[in-house]
Symmetry: D3
Subunit: 303 residues, 6 copies
């Protein structure tokens, strides 16, 4: 089950609303009376995976608790405005969207709906974009025993939300941050070598110092490094920017003594070939730093 | 002069470092001794505009004040490692980068450099990406009297930084948020019409209620609406998703009675044609929500 | 409609209660048992305009959600204690108070009512004082087409609340702060002149750099400066410390090309003469920095 | 020695600057270049007591550490501009000001000086106003053994600063807040009586429950209540709104068994008569809630 | 009545949960589905006094408002598991516990119960430990007119909670902190003597400067110092590390002119002898800094 | 190298000082002038391991940057006051203390030294207590290949500091919190069994859901459970409350397939026997929740 810290969501959403001046929206305050009611629907404009509905709902709740965001949506006739109203069970994060899918509806005092609209959409579009990109990678490796995971290349301040969106899209998470996982990168090894240490000694140093609850993962860029790392007892080998053929050779050599993670330049196009090399994990920074926002709009009706 | 609130930078950077666990980097703590010194260079991997160097420097300063980030960089021989060292005047935000440009160097205790590396790069790459996209749009309209501006479609929490990057790239800023500018959008007009008001009456309502220091900007989608808005005394007319021809017709009709802003689907390709319609301002959400990160790396040398 | 950011109110009220030690009120804790109930009325001791009732209510809510502040008040017999109880529709912010007017009643556990009493009154008296001063100025110019506005001379930390009170009293707001309005003051002009710039060039510089959503307001102290500013395209001319006659001459010269704002030494006595000069706006710092608190008391009855 | 928590000052000043948008001062940013230097003097416009100079200095330091606020001021020739420059030892909080007294000078980059000017003045004027009012009361009772103290009727958020200003003016402080002093008011007594307790029993209850480090002060409105309170062992008797004659009678009856505090409607005019009644303490809410701001200006010179 | 600031409790509990990663409990998230319900009982494993139940309840409420903590507990058959269920009125803070006493029960979604368990127990055990130690001291002096109080030797960040627990155990509180009580210690006296002051002059200095609402307490270590202090008008004399005989001599000499407080090395064993010396107050740092945690467990049943 | 987040230290220390009212220390403010200088030494009163000196130093730095805490200490003649002054290299955290060891000296303005004294000591005594308890356990298993680690039974708010003290004493850290380690406890297993899952299935569920950087640790209470867990692929087996003999049997059965951790009732007395059972890790909650504070005093000299 994807996991969302609702308290964190409330805090992040509130800060975004304050950054956007949503509590002093001079246009709305001067043109829309407090008592005017309205409704709106979230409408998908392109295909993808929905993520972030609770975050969008939190944005409306933060400006006015009287606003109701409901999954029980009405059907729209194809292309038209709402004349036929058919309530149907709504969508949740993880639902597959097509252009025109009605996602949810929003109802309540119109002024605060207008004031929170952009913040709500900003989150919904970004997180749905992440989930959609993850789903695409996940679909590319369907049937293969490989785990799709994220990296630390996330948007500053939004890591927890973006990791949630990766889960919604079918992926899993790498370590959350530097504090809760060991990943010995080339620079750590280079630092050790500058002090006369072998790769094995660097690994031993991490093993000796890190909590025993953590595995030791080591980044390597060649077959020889991979061999050195696994011989030195690394638990996970990150194969950085290798070709599928190189990866396959490493996987064969490692022979189950460590997990293998492929990283670097992963795309929906090359993911299957990489997965077929036998690696256990594929990690992609692009899931979070380059996923295009999914086009979703809020269609408002005043009443 | 682009303007950066250094206190805000410090706060945002610190939160990003905490999110990334940079103060409890278990890998570095267990493999790199506190006393080992090191140096590194920021290296451009692709062409673009530099933005965010003070933010990256703030990340290093936050983990260890002993780290020195300096603009006085050494020359690298083409393609090679640093054997010829030639100090030259360094780069500042706004500098044009080519692949291989050495941006700045970082020197000090190696462990905190490693712990802050990713956060520093995340900011530098993102902000340089925004500046680069802005410069591209700015170049596309070179010689024409039009202002390139951003929108509120920024990353939650990072608006001030992204707006700074727009300035670095040669653009200017739209209103910061809902509190410091009036922009009557279709929904505000629709809300008014639902209460029996004309567009002119909605504009009058904003005029009457808003501080007299603010102009009244109105979003329109057709020539007729543009005419109605300008006749009702709008100060700025936002021409939403119009063709250059439609815009030209509106500009002619408005005849200087109001400023005109083009918005919707602006790209480096269509910007010149749009600018030639005579609009005063072109605004682009893509500058901030879709600018790809600029590829910049940190090359570390232990000593 | 006056606008109050309820989240901000809660935060400010809570900080005031903490400053006052209301959660560790040693006198009340040692003399009044938690279960004793009580009631109280807010009673006007002098004439004025009510403002801040929601703020006072927030103070009680913060110490104990069981306390009910209600507008449905009982009538007091003239001068006496409550023997005849007649519920009547209550007052809201903006209501005109006479000595003896019962404003609202408070009911619930007595101990927290006592602990929050001073903070609630401090806000209610201060904000009603601001509203009352504003109303007085507003009444002085009744029938004339002039806008009464506040300034930035507000109490540090309480600007949003004091601006709300100005609205309650019938006034409007100037720019909120330095970030959301342009006002070129004598010092900005002097800084420009020291660099060899004319007033027109300083105005052009602000125009070129500021968001296009902002008007350019310029402070002038003489007819000549006013002419120079309006000729240079200023949108609003602040006439600083002029006599009504000077103002009238400026207004005639400007002839609608810019708005005019009178400022400096405004009182209820001279406001009408100033307004009759034809200025569009009168701004007064005294509304917020010198409005005497309105005398309001909380009369408590234990039960 | 008046005591100022510098950390608190920094926090309050920073919040005031943020409230005022001083870090995004669009006017100054667009009209004054970062490198232009300037200087200014704080100038007293009316007579009074200086208080808050460190707070004003903190405002400038917060926007730019390069700004220097110095007590070593130059002499101004009477009424004129600075042509004769004579450095002389500067003033500190507590100094007596006359119209035209040069208080301190400010020197550094002009832009941040302009951005922080209003906040610096707001604090300096308000605190000098409080110190001036206190000094006036203090002078009125000169030679008499009575302590002038403040109350809890302070500006929300600024209590510590206003209490400092009272000290600067020669006064002393009452309890800081509800947590650090016991003051049994009429309402606490009424609450007790509603439960069948005598005043003595209420006092005993406070005595039994409060930390033994606190005195028990009791508010009374009549000679009889005063007698009851002192007989019940109250340590301090607050004589509320009594005439000097009534106070004198109470003081005589109490005969040193408790301290006596006069409160209610204290003015510089009636203070001496009250003090001559023999009370030990005079407390005045007006010192903080009604002290008019002292007129001080910042005269800026660009260079 | 013991007094607990519920807002403070919520804040402290939330910070403890964040410190413990309770909102990202990877074990529970991956092994217990959100919809699985469960129940648990708090069970005393040793004898003592219950304190902190509202704090423990706040921990569960913070992770999931659907969790219900109820005092209405079921009876457990001696030593066995719950087969006979008998609801009975529950316990409150202050209740005396025996080994096996069922304190309260917790019911709701199992996953958040597991995530908050440790934090809830940490508070409950620590505070019950403090209450138990206080009760022990209180019992030791039963029947004697002496007040048992705490000191400032509390756990950083938890002073308010630990003082509450002291109240629950039958004790009372000393001054909360340095700001709300005067206690002249040997170092203050030594500082004065270094400037040539007598103890009396130091006391006079405190008397003159401190708010009149505070008593002046003076720490002494000998009969002579005690005499000097009381002669100089001290309100409370802290007898530091004296034998009961010395204390008795001091008490006799003081003869009611000041309160007396015994401090230093107080234990349940020597407390009665000390109290019999006639001191008014016994203070003990060990109540808070050395009270062993009371053994309480949470027994969970999944369903 | 023990690792201390200095930013966190500053924050925690500041909060402790505010909790203690150190910035409004009414006694010191009224009895010690700001300009009086003083010096003090930290003196060990009992044997142990020093930990927390940087934390104590941070307390003094927070109240006044002019205070200098220096490791270069003077020798005290045995039992006497400082007459012979011999500077010698100072102590650092981890140093072994004997009764009378001079730890460091403090020099600067006396008033702030007095105001921060208690907070500095509270931290130093508590952390030295934790380090001392850890060292005792570490010494008990000297020569055996076992790691001594802490648990999550730490003081709320002080976990990072207490874990640092464990490192100082020669121990290592378990997972920091619920977010960065997997530990399947009896309740997680019980929750799984209630849904019909075997232990192996619960382990598989954690393995499938948790980041691949984390080991899977499982708590067991019997040989059979240990076998089931290790057969199901657990990486670490926590042997809860077993006898050394039971542990030895488990270790033999596991035969290196998983790490083993002993927990429950560990003391300096039984630690060696437990370690000789062959377990890899011994964890002790008592290191943090029950370590008695080490007796350290601050001896102040005014000058």
């Amino acid at each position: 089950m994807p996991d969302l810290n609702h308290d964190l969501v409330r805090r992040i959403v509130r800060e975004a609303l304050e950054e956007d001046g949503a509590f002093q929206d001079v246009t709305t305050l001067t043109t829309v009376p407090q008592e005017q009611m309205g409704r709106a629907i979230f409408l998908a404009k392109e295909a993808g995976v929905l993520a972030g509905l609770p975050v969008a709902a939190a944005a409306f709740a933060a400006v006015d608790p009287a606003i109701v965001v409901s999954n029980a949506v009405e059907e729209l006739p194809p292309g038209g405005r709402r004349t036929v109203i058919t309530l149907r069970p709504g969508l949740h994060d993880g639902a597959v969207l097509e252009p025109g899918t009605v996602i949810a509806h929003v109802e309540g005092p119109l002024a605060p709906i207008l004031s929170a609209e952009r913040v709500a959409l900003n989150f919904l579009q970004r997180l749905s974009g992440v989930a959609t990109a993850t789903k695409r990678l996940k679909d590319a490796v369907e049937g293969l025993p490989v785990r799709i995971v994220d990296t630390r290349k996330t948007t500053p301040g939004l890591r927890a939300l973006e990791r949630y969106a990766v889960q919604v899209g079918g992926g899993q998470n790498h370590r959350f941050n530097l504090a809760d996982g060991v990943l010995i990168k080339d620079n750590h090894v280079a630092a050790g070598r500058a002090r006369g240490l072998t790769l094995g000694q660097v690994i031993a140093s991490a093993r000796a110092g890190a909590p025993h609850t953590l595995r030791i993962e080591v980044e390597v860029t060649s077959f020889e490094e991979a061999r050195e790392a696994v011989d030195a007892g690394a638990d996970v080998i990150l194969l950085d920017n290798m070709t599928p053929a190189e990866m396959q050779r490493c996987v064969a050599m490692i022979a189950g003594r460590a997990l293998t993670e492929a990283s670097g330049g992963i795309t929906a196009e090359n993911a299957r070939a990489i997965a077929e090399s036998g690696v256990d994990i594929i990690s992609s920074g692009a899931l979070t730093h380059s996923a295009p926002a999914l086009d979703i709009s809020l269609e408002i009706e005043a009443s």
